[in-house]
Point group: C2
Chain length 206, copies 2
DNA sequence: ACCGCCTCTTGACACAGATCAAGGACGCCC
DNA sequence: GGGCGTCCTTGATCTGTGTCAAGAGGCGGT
């Protein structure tokens, strides 16, 4: 389920993106979409005042930009390589044409888009009716093996995590401390030991 | 582009939903999705404390629930008829099977899902980095003909609009007044005259 | 016309989280 | 080791928005 039809895959052109470069930019016409091969990409939006919201972060195997490319129109967000990244670039029109003759590929992209809708819906819900504390708890739970006691090692900078959670780094810092004071976690740099997974899950609101 | 393949359409079963009844409920297994024929449906989520966020509102011609049904799993939101509503109900597995042999239908659903992703992404951005004032300005602009001066008549109660914008009705009330004080609009009950569309658009942040 | 119900408005207040401003910790390079 | 840049933390303060409480206005029913 994580690989599209190989005849589709062969339509992709492999490209390299040094850390910091943009795969696409908000406002540009969306003719192509991408599949990350190695590295990582963050998708974000900046407002006039420079405040920034990270919509999602993608790693190897993930697709990005496919929704805009299929719908036609302009990218609503920026996509930036966070490390040296390689990605397959697809022309949306070519892929749509190929899909017409490959039912399996159609189904693949339908499920891909459907899952992306669910992802976005989940983030919407988090942002709309959860506090920073709850969102953080949820993030930690999601990245924990589910054991009673486990250690989450952040793969990203705390400032980046803050923007991913839709908050400021200062607030994230304070919230981490608060969870620690409450005996739920123990923070040692980028290493976070979850002392009580069950209780943390309650904090997260399931 | 707004109609699926007729062979797909014929898979739907027409059902009636009195005002207030649920088409589906958060947590239920998603086997089917819907297309509104007449009436209106709001999709929302309630948290433990009773706070509520309206994710989207659908009218005649719109699909809902298709993302969850295609991805498999449980509905993350509730869907409720806001007035007496008729809707076609589709079994997701049947439709997926039909799609395999109808390339046009595949393309239809891909574009449908893609547009839904864009819709959700837009709402995410609004909620994440816009103030209530900006979101309201944006809503008014979107529902205005684009003329220099025009009148928007709210089709929904102000309390409902508030939840759609992700805020409380009291705050909406105050914000409307504020825009009026600033000379951007004139409010007379559910009728809102936009005095300066261009300036309002600036407020909205394009 | 009176009453009850519902929606909307307004005021007072509380609080989460953003912002501003200093440090402090750590790594890296010369 | 000293200096410098980046990231993180902490404190003080400000602001938007939610919440609670009390009317105000409209509308239908009797």
């Amino acid at each position: 389920m994580s690989r599209p039809d190989s005849s589709i895959e062969s339509l992709g052109i492999l490209r390299g993106y040094p850390s910091g470069t943009l795969l696409f930019q908000a406002g540009a016409l969306a003719a192509e979409f991408f599949r990350v091969v190695s590295g990582g990409v963050r998708v974000y939006k900046t407002d006039e005042q420079g405040r920034e919201l990270e919509v999602a972060r993608f790693g190897p195997g993930d697709f990005l930009g496919e929704a805009v490319a299929f719908a036609g129109g302009r990218y609503p967000f920026n996509a930036q390589a966070v490390v040296q990244t390689r990605a397959l670039s697809f022309n949306a029109a070519h892929v749509l044409r190929a899909i017409e003759t490959h039912p399996g590929a159609a189904r693949f992209f339908i499920e891909l888009l459907a899952r992306k809708c669910l992802l976005l819906g989940g983030r919407l819900e988090s942002l709309g009716l959860r506090t920073v504390r709850q969102r953080l708890a949820r993030y930690l739970c999601a990245n924990c093996a589910g054991e009673q006691v486990c250690v989450v090692t952040l793969g990203i900078k705390k400032g980046e995590l803050a923007r991913l959670l839709g908050t400021a780094s200062e607030t994230l810092s304070r919230t981490l401390r608060q969870l620690q004071t409450d005996g739920l976690i123990e923070v040692r740099g980028p290493r976070i030991r979850i002392k009580d997974c069950a209780r943390l899950r309650v904090e997260a609101g399931e």
